[in-house]
């Protein structure tokens, strides 16, 4: 069984790596700073909203790009929303793909859009895994009697 100090270090190292690898940016730190004893689950709640919202948008995007005649305005609108929510939680890599994605929408470039859709799904899946792991580590630390840094 790991000690509290070890769990804490593991958590800090993991979080640091997420920033270093560009999965998260400063906005995530802002979210953490808004969490306190009166709102202890704020980050998890917002991130869960992001998961729900993103999955819905990715489904809509898949459908929209699968149409015989693609409505690029609609596609752009979905990407705009995804860009906004990823930016709000600090999911930097997802946000960056969305920026490229919007450019392809503007150009009505279906191939570019399909590529971006695949990319954004990948990046979303990655950051989702990372965040879920992060929350798990936090839970372990709390269960062992430690406090989240």
């Amino acid at each position: 069984m790991e000690g509290v100090a070890q769990l804490r270090r593991q958590l800090v190292d993991y979080l640091t790596s997420l920033f270093q690898e560009g999965f998260l940016d400063n906005q995530f730190t802002q979210l953490q700073q808004l969490q306190d004893e009166s709102n202890p689950d704020f980050v998890v709640e917002v991130v869960n909203l992001f998961f729900e919202d993103s999955e819905r948008l990715l489904n809509e995007l898949t459908k929209a790009l699968d149409q015989p005649s693609v409505d690029f305005k609609k596609v752009d609108s979905h990407v705009h929303q995804l860009k906004g929510s990823s930016s709000s939680i600090g999911a930097q890599r997802v946000q960056n793909v969305c920026i490229a994605f919007r450019n392809y929408c503007e150009e009505h470039n279906i191939e570019g859009c399909l590529n971006c859709l695949q990319q954004v799904k990948q990046e979303y899946s990655l950051v989702k895994n990372k965040l879920e792991t992060l929350f798990k580590l936090e839970q372990q630390l709390l269960a062992a009697g430690g406090s989240v840094p």
Binding site: D25, N39, S85
Partner: protein, 222 residues
């Protein structure tokens, strides 16, 4: 202590069609000890404010008290720009055209750093224009606007407002050329997470270097 602000709680109405954004802005505002109401559209905001179309036609009705149509007094409205149906700009216009609502300070939020958009909103009477994601440092700028609106009948306007106004005029004039800010600025995501957010510095050229954010308050004197 004699501080008026600590006795009364300011009430902010936040408007955004995104649930995540509403949750975020609510938390930011509550952290700053404001009372918060969130709605998901401009029309719901107007409904909450007790907006009536004929306010525009009959501006001076002494028999009608300004608050009798509002359920709760609102001290500031903060709204997203890009919303389906009524945009934040449309909402701003309606509020400024309403005799009962025009004195409520309005702040616009947007994820897009477009110069013409910012200028349009400020010219229409918005107090501030925040780039998303909104941060605590942005929310800290709200209190003076609410104080000014609440106590404007009891105080002379502070001298610094005049200085700010001419500074703003100068900075707007020196930036007539471009409509859209260069892509680098927009896409400049913080690579290292300690760096100050360059993307937040809309229309920074021409302003003094120690200013982190351009000051756009005071363009319209109500």
């Amino acid at each position: 202590m004699g501080s008026i602000a600590t006795e009364s709680q300011f009430h902010v109405l936040a408007v955004d069609d995104s649930l995540i954004e509403r949750k975020l802005i609510e938390r930011l505002l509550k952290t700053s000890s404001y009372q918060v109401t969130t709605v998901d559209s401009g029309s719901k905001a107007l409904e909450f404010l007790g907006f009536h179309e004929d306010d525009q036609n009959y501006p001076n009705q002494p028999s009608v008290s300004p608050n009798n149509r509002q359920e709760m007094e609102v001290d500031l409205i903060i709204t997203d720009y890009c919303m389906p149906g009524m945009t934040g700009y449309d909402l701003l216009k309606k509020i400024k055209e309403s005799s009962s609502l025009r004195n409520i300070p309005v702040v616009i939020m947007s994820s897009e750093n477009v110069r013409t958009r910012i200028r349009r909103c400020l010219e229409e009477g918005a107090e501030e224009f925040f780039l998303k994601p909104v941060q605590l440092s942005d929310v800290n700028r709200l209190r003076p606007h609410m104080m000014k609106a609440k106590y404007k009948d009891h105080q002379e306007p502070p001298k610094q407002q005049v200085e700010e106004k001419s500074e703003v005029e100068m900075s707007i004039q020196s930036q007539q050329e471009e409509d859209e800010l260069p892509h680098e600025q927009h896409q400049q995501q913080p690579q290292a997470q300690g760096s100050s957010n360059n993307k937040r510095k809309a229309l920074e050229e021409g302003l003094s270097p120690d200013r982190k954010r351009p000051r756009y308050s005071g363009l319209t004197v109500v």
